[in-house]
């Protein structure tokens, strides 16, 4: 049994083999994995909101927002020896599970989260290798830094790998 590092909602963490890293129940949230294939170190963030400019609190949880979470994750990976030029990313989530006719901007949060994550990755010059985003289903994802494979489980479609 290999150890599984869990990433909660609005949380982030790093893992190395034989560990795997997992986050459960991504709805509108986006799971971002940044990894170094050579060093086999990876990090995952469970992003809830697109921008830290939405924060109305005095103290801020950086892992919650796309822009700040990816910066923290990058720093963590670098301090684990990862080489920024080698880093790649995979992402999943950002679903729109409910459709309301009187749709408030908050209900479109999934696609907004995906856009924000992509923009930030571009700014950080990290290439997106594969993605499984949008749709209407919740996802549970698990990344294996040994193989760089991301497995995605949904209720209706079972397990797939990207």
């Amino acid at each position: 049994m290999s150890e599984i590092v869990k990433v909660g909602m609005a949380d982030l963490n790093v893992a190395k083999p034989p560990q795997k890293i997992r986050t459960s129940g991504l709805g509108s949230c986006v799971g971002v994995i940044i990894y170094d294939e050579i060093l086999k170190v990876c990090g995952m963030a469970h992003v809830m909101l697109p921008s830290s400019s939405l924060a109305k609190a005095d103290s801020m949880n950086k892992a919650k927002y796309a822009d700040t979470a990816l910066e923290v994750l990058l720093d963590k990976l670098k301090s684990n020896g990862a080489n920024q030029t080698r880093l790649k990313a995979k992402l999943a989530g950002g679903a729109q599970m409910f459709k309301f006719s009187t749709s408030s901007e908050m209900m479109r949060i999934g696609p907004r989260n995906v856009d924000a994550v992509k923009e930030k990755l571009k700014e950080l010059r990290i290439r997106i290798v594969s993605e499984d985003v949008g749709g209407t289903s919740g996802r549970t994802i698990e990344f294996d830094p040994e193989t760089s494979k991301l497995s995605i489980r949904t209720v209706s479609q079972g397990v797939s790998e990207i």
């Binding site: 129940g25 509108s28 909101l49 679903a95």
Partner: protein
Amino acid sequence: MSFINRIQPHHLDILKEVGNIGAGHAATALSKLLNKTIDMKVPSVRVTSFDGITELVGGSDNVVAAIFLRIEGEAPGNMFFMLPVNEATRLIQYLTGDEDFDLNHPPYSELGLSALQELGNILAGSYLSAFSDFTKLNLQPSVPALSIDMAIAILSYGLLELSQVGDYAIVIDTEILEKIDENSQKTTGHFFLLPDPGSYEKIFQALGVPINE
């Protein structure tokens, strides 16, 4: 979340009473609809971290049928009625007379889903109108939306407003149960009420116990 620090135990009692009155009316409506005895548990009001909510909905992999509606008006918020998939299947079979309907096996018939959505609409509407009468606050439900998926992915929608001000939520959770015989009952579902951060002061104010600065 600054207001959480100012909330006193009697404020939580008031939220409990909101859950009690709301779910009480919903249980009565369900009882009439099914012609069965429906009971409810004493509501629990929990101040919990986002991770704690995962436990609240039965673990990260728990799959449920959920009806979600936005509450609009003077005290906006989110309401969920969540049922275990097998229980939702049984209710739909009862309401539509379609014994082949099974939420474990998609694709689902439109009629079955529509029946479940209407059931959710009636129950959540009863909950909300009792809540509105009790507080004298003007509240309107949005059209309900239905999803059969991971409970935590569904409930995360109710956390979006809250997540902008902190990492904690106040969840008013009321379980309703169906009586099987004298000694046993089983869970029908859970109501989760998650008022938006700005709504607490209004609810407390409306009931005469404002939060002191």
